[in-house]
């Protein structure tokens, strides 16, 4: 299974796979698994990470013949991973499977502490990371799949609009409008959280 030496370029491995050497695909998987895992871990629930990584590589394999050899393979794989995550959330929302968790007093208190902190960049203590993650998931559950993806990519990851547009396959104008709206929605959600 591990016949293909690691020194081969991506395009060479792709050529081998397209010529019928299916085992060569494992080299691509080994090379890009960390990238794919990093993406899916951030966008889907932990329990779905392996499933989404698997789904991403299956999609990569199935559409390998459509990859243009002059393009950036890393970017292409990233785009497939992001779109797989987006499709996951669309499916979950369509089937109304979103588990709406409720916010605890601890999480509310944590948010209040963060926004009233005098420092510009609030430091997150190790023991309050759990609250932060739960609050993030809670807020994201209240957004549509489109708003969720844009908010995560633009504001949490800090990617430029053009790159987000390429990753999601949307127009730049659409990304800008969505980003603005999703930020406002997040503000509204957080505002409701800290209401007295």
């Amino acid at each position: 299974m591990k016949e293909t030496p690691i020194m081969f370029s991506d395009s060479e491995i792709i050529r081998q796979v397209l010529e019928g050497n299916v085992n060569s695909f494992e080299s691509l998987m080994v090379r890009y698994k960390d990238l794919v895992l990093r993406i899916v871990k951030k966008h889907v629930p932990y329990s779905e990470t392996e499933e989404m990584a698997q789904e991403t590589f299956i999609r990569v394999y199935q559409s390998l013949s459509g990859f243009k050899s002059r393009g950036d393979f890393k970017q292409w794989v990233s785009s497939i991973a992001v779109r797989a995550c987006y499709d996951y959330w669309r499916k979950v929302y369509r089937n109304k499977e979103v588990a709406m968790s409720s916010l605890t007093e601890r999480q509310q208190k944590w948010l209040e502490e963060v926004i009233s902190d005098q420092q510009k960049t609030p430091a997150i203590e190790e023991d309050s990371k759990k609250e932060a993650t739960e609050l993030l998931d809670w807020a994201m559950e209240r957004l549509s799949p489109e708003d969720r993806m844009v908010l995560e990519l633009v504001y949490l990851e800090g990617l430029p609009g053009k790159e987000v547009a390429d990753l999601l396959g949307w127009s730049l104008a659409n990304v800008k409008v969505r980003a603005f709206r999703s930020r406002n929605k997040l503000k509204k959600i957080l505002q409701e959280t800290i209401k007295p």
Binding site: Y61, S65, I115
Partner: protein, 109 residues
């Protein structure tokens, strides 16, 4: 606290960003890789699917030199054959009335 201003929202987003990146550190097993390869192997080889248009383009460009050679050879052959068109042939007969009888004989009237 009633409303969040821009600076507070920024702080909240920054705090949530660190929670977002903390998700990257979660451990994932390696079993899924063998499952992927199992699925890929069961799907069988995929071959480069070239579209008809692309195929046509490739074919046409490959035939271009052959076409030029053929056009050249045909032109040369026509010049060598001392070619007369039907029109020129008819004109030659019509200009000479004696030949009209011969033409009528050949045409069967």
């Amino acid at each position: 606290m009633e409303s969040i201003d821009k600076e507070q929202l920024e702080k909240a987003i920054k705090a949530l960003t660190s929670a977002y990146y903390a998700k990257e550190k979660r451990e994932v097993g390696d079993l899924w890789q063998s499952r992927v390869m199992g699925n890929v192997l069961s799907m069988g080889p995929i071959f480069s699917k070239t579209g008809y248009f692309e195929l046509f383009q490739q074919f046409v460009w490959r035939l271009t030199p052959v076409t030029f050679v053929l056009v050249g050879l045909l032109s040369l052959a026509l010049i060598k054959m001392d070619f007369f068109s039907d029109y020129e042939l008819t004109k030659a007969f019509v200009s000479n009335s004696t030949d009209l009888v011969t033409l009528a004989m050949y045409s069967g009237s």
